[in-house]
């Protein structure tokens, strides 16, 4: 008795809102050029913080989603999510209808922030002026009685807004494994498609922690680069002088679709989402071990799941946070998995340019791998000046045109969750090109 052939999954739409561009084309140009999104923080007065820089999304407005009733319920990260998701659906040229709604899914990696700082300030002024909350005063506190504050702060609100906006009525889920969230969302969607529960999934991640509380959390852990005078150089993954990550924000979404359905409707296919691998490092909450244990298993699982060998991987989008420990541990893991090819496979961390998008990172970077495959171009690992002997990798330092048969995207989160995705060129799947738009430069 042989198992039925496993469903293949195509990426047919991409939407991005990132610190280096509010759409796919602008983002991609910046990533090829290594044009950094790092700059002094403008969203609030950060003058007193050890880190006063970040990679903010710039000049953002909702162009595609303008329903004011919906946007009133959205926090900053939800605004990014709605815009990026709409871009992806427009790009895919397919969206849920009343008839297909139950066969559409939605899987998101959502950020961890609750109320906006301004709302916490209102509660502080009214109910905690002396620094300790007086619960009795909450009864008359505006923020604590404002249902909009509650809705915008709910972990499930991003999922709620997306499924309502687009009418998605099948398998829906919201996941959070810190910096691995976005990758896990794509992996979760892949598995739901394979199970046959849905035919198409809107999958992605969104986050914004560039706020007094978000920055505080990372400053307290000394996780951020403090290169306040050179924000565009602050994120330098795998460089010997790296000193922490650059906090970014944004959203990335893809439309995932049953391969046969996508081909049948003549959709442009960027890539196959071919494999997902998950592991827990179970070492420390903030780190993987120096020998790469944890990420190693996740990469191997993703390759095995995709039925791919390391010889076919022509690009690795590294987690590459620009922290001392991550980049060393990830390098060790890449060498363990890739063996002799560990020194030659092209690697870049796009966090060098756009910063670390936290819960959105894995989804955005998965989408970037699909773009690398479809366009035959590799984004650069910017800001590499002084090579670190512990990070002996073939880092992409100039934009490179090359055919990418398959790509690997790494995401490792606080808490120890590791999420790796393998994406494959459409021609490697069925011998046919991806269709319209392929190889077209922006």
């Amino acid at each position: 008795m042989s198992a039925p052939a496993r469903r293949r999954v195509a990426i047919t739409g991409i939407g991005l809102v990132t610190p280096v561009g509010n759409d796919v084309a602008t983002t991609w140009r910046a990533l090829l050029a290594g044009r950094s999104g790092g700059a002094p923080i403008t969203l609030f007065d950060a003058s007193g913080f050890a880190t006063r820089i970040a990679a903010e999304v710039k000049d953002f407005r909702n162009r595609l989603v303008t329903d004011r009733r919906l946007l009133k319920l959205a926090n900053r990260s939800h605004h990014f999510a709605l815009e990026a998701a709409e871009q992806a659906l427009v790009d895919a040229g397919v969206r849920p209808t009343a008839e297909t709604a139950p066969r559409w899914g939605c899987a998101v990696g959502a950020g961890m922030m609750t109320a906006d700082f301004a709302d916490l300030e209102r509660t502080h002024a009214h109910a905690a002026a002396d620094g300790t909350l007086d619960a009795g005063l909450l009864l008359s506190d505006d923020a604590a009685n404002d249902p909009l504050v509650f809705c915008r702060g709910q972990a499930a609100q991003g999922l709620a807004l997306l499924t309502r906006r687009f009418g998605i009525a099948g398998y829906t889920t919201s996941v959070h494994t810190a910096c691995a969230s976005g990758g896990q969302a794509l992996g979760t969607a892949l598995k739901a498609l394979r199970r046959g529960r849905v035919d198409r999934v809107l999958a992605g991640g969104f986050d914004s922690m560039i706020s007094p509380i978000g920055i505080s959390g990372f400053c307290l852990l000394s996780a951020l680069s403090t290169d306040n005078d050179t924000p565009e150089r602050a994120s330098r993954p795998f460089d010997a002088t790296r000193n922490g990550f650059l906090l970014g924000e944004g959203a990335g979404f893809v439309v995932l679709e049953d391969w046969a359905l996508a081909r049948a409707r003549g959709a442009r296919i960027y890539a196959e989402l071919a494999g997902d691998g998950n592991s827990l490092s179970s070492y420390r909450i903030t780190d993987s071990p120096p020998d790469g244990d944890g990420p190693i298993q996740a990469m191997r699982a993703a390759l095995a799941d995709a039925g791919a060998t390391v010889d076919t991987i022509d690009y690795v989008n590294a987690h590459g946070t620009s922290t001392l420990m991550n980049d060393r541990s990830e390098t060790a893991a890449l060498h363990a998995v890739f063996g002799a090819r560990g020194r030659s496979v092209p690697v870049s961390s796009t966090k060098s340019t756009m910063g670390h998008l936290i819960a959105a990172a894995g989804a955005v970077e998965g989408a970037l791998c699909a773009l690398a495959i479809a366009r035959g171009e590799l984004p650069v690992n910017a800001n590499l000046r002084e090579r670190d002997a512990d990070c002996d990798l073939n880092l992409v330092t100039t934009p490179t045109r090359t055919r990418v048969r398959a790509a690997l995207s790494n995401s490792f989160g606080f808490g120890g969750s590791n999420s790796c995705l393998v994406l494959r060129h459409p021609e490697e799947v069925d011998g046919r090109p991806g269709g319209r738009g392929e190889e077209a430069g922006p």
């Binding site: 502080h124 959070h176 120890g416």
Partner: protein, 422 residues
């Protein structure tokens, strides 16, 4: 298809710290819902919740160093997971294996958690700093490190239970943390089932945990019309809302081969799961039960069962007007006039939000083993809108060894799980 079996279960909530103890309280008709003790609710419009009595952090997690890194919700999650893992014997078995085999075993052992996600109390850690800074963000930034716990962000992570189970027990396989509100815990079980069938792992501990009883949360739920001012009476004509409980549940779920390998006693079997959305936004619910119907249908198809095979239904039954009425509609649509006995547990230990579905599954397994469908003790008069629903204030008898557990949450999510007791 591979049989997916349950070899460990654990739960803690206001009704008890072991599944048997919780079931006994439910069967006795005991409600743990009472006046909130964590703050003075004298003038509050909602004053009742099911708090874990005599909450002792060390009784939940012995390692005191860990207490600085986690919150109350993580403590209960780790406690329930520890109980389930202990009962399953999988860690003890792993530790008898030679090192390479033990490492491989750990890599094939996963963790999937349903977690509540955001809360409000964690942010209060910044209130003293805000007072000190007097509205000046510059001063806020400068004084930050002197005032706020350096581990603040780590204490706030929604995926703490996942990470700390991994570290404590050395489990390193597939993993996920689901933060879609109330369905999280039940979805953890459904995802574990799918992962085991797909051979992504050989065994998985599924956990759901949440401690939502905090003043700001109670106020919001009250403001949205979701909280009862009196008694939580699911499906009752006089019901007026839900009430919070706090707690956690955990199940060790594995392939039959994995359980047989160490001769682990089997408590039950996970048969199938389903998930569906109604695309209505965060709070709205369709009156026709559409999402729940599709979730149940999917679970039945997944398990290869027909409605007639279901021996009892453990409803979401949260006590709100809209949810209970639409749930009754959904059950009639699926089962017609052939409904098995229906019950629910929230009247006894409150709505555990992300922990609700999995704690209720743990209690359901114990009830199936005892061949009893506990009554809804607070039920007085069945709501005509729920006519035909086979609920009772007193115990009924399940018509088979299979139970259907239902769970609904914000963002229009509906989940259904089918389990069998051994």
């Amino acid at each position: 298809m591979t049989r997916i079996v349950i070899t460990g279960s654990g739960a803690v909530c206001a009704a008890g710290r072991q599944p048997a103890e919780i079931l006994a309280a439910v069967r006795a008709g005991t409600s743990s819902l009472r006046r909130i003790e964590q703050w003075d609710t004298t003038h509050w419009p909602a004053q009742v919740a099911a708090e874990i009595p005599d909450f002792d952090a060390r009784a939940m997690v012995a390692d005191r160093k860990l207490h600085k890194l986690i919150r109350r919700t993580d403590l209960v999650g780790l406690y329930a997971a520890g109980c389930a893992l202990e009962q399953s014997g999988l860690v003890a078995h792993r530790d008898t294996l030679p090192p390479p085999a033990a490492a491989a075993y750990s890599d094939r052992s996963g963790v999937i958690v349903g977690s509540g996600g955001g809360n409000f109390e964690n942010q209060y850690d910044f209130l003293p700093l805000m007072t000190q800074a007097g509205g000046d963000l510059g001063a806020f930034g400068r004084e930050l490190a002197n005032t706020v716990n350096p581990m603040w962000l780590l204490r706030t992570l929604p995926n703490n239970v996942l990470g700390h189970i991994g570290i404590k027990y050395g489990l390193k396989g597939t993993n996920a943390c689901i933060t879609s509100h109330s369905v999280g815990g039940l979805v953890a079980v459904i995802e574990a089932l799918a992962a085991l069938r797909a051979a992504e792992a050989d065994r998985i501990v599924a956990v759901g945990h949440e401690t939502p009883i905090e003043p700001q949360m109670v106020l919001y739920y009250h403001g949205l019309g979701l909280m009862s001012a009196g008694v939580l009476r699911p499906f009752d004509a006089g019901r007026d809302g839900s009430q919070f409980g706090e707690g956690a549940g955990a199940l060790v779920i594995e392939t039959e081969a994995s359980a047989l390998e160490r001769g682990a006693p089997v408590l039950g079997e996970v048969l199938g799961g389903g998930l569906a959305s109604e695309a209505q936004g965060l709070l709205a619910i369709r009156e026709d039960g559409d999402g729940l119907v599709r979730a149940i249908d999917e679970a039945l198809a997944d398990a290869g069962l027909s409605p007639r095979d279901v021996g009892m239904v453990v409803a979401h039954g949260n006590g709100t007007r809209a949810s209970d009425a639409s749930e009754a509609v959904a059950l009639r649509r699926v089962f017609g006039d052939d409904l098995p006995p229906v019950t629910g547990f929230k009247w006894s230990f409150g709505h555990l939000i992300a922990a609700a579905g999995i704690v209720e599954t743990v209690v359901t397994l114990a009830a199936l083993q005892a061949k009893v469908v506990p009554g809804i003790a607070t039920l007085r008069t069945l709501d005509p809108a729920c006519a035909g629903l086979t609920v009772a204030a007193t115990a009924q008898v399940p018509r088979s060894d299979v139970a259907l557990v239902l769970c609904r949450g914000f963002a229009s999510t509906n989940a259904a799980l089918l389990v069998r007791a051994s």
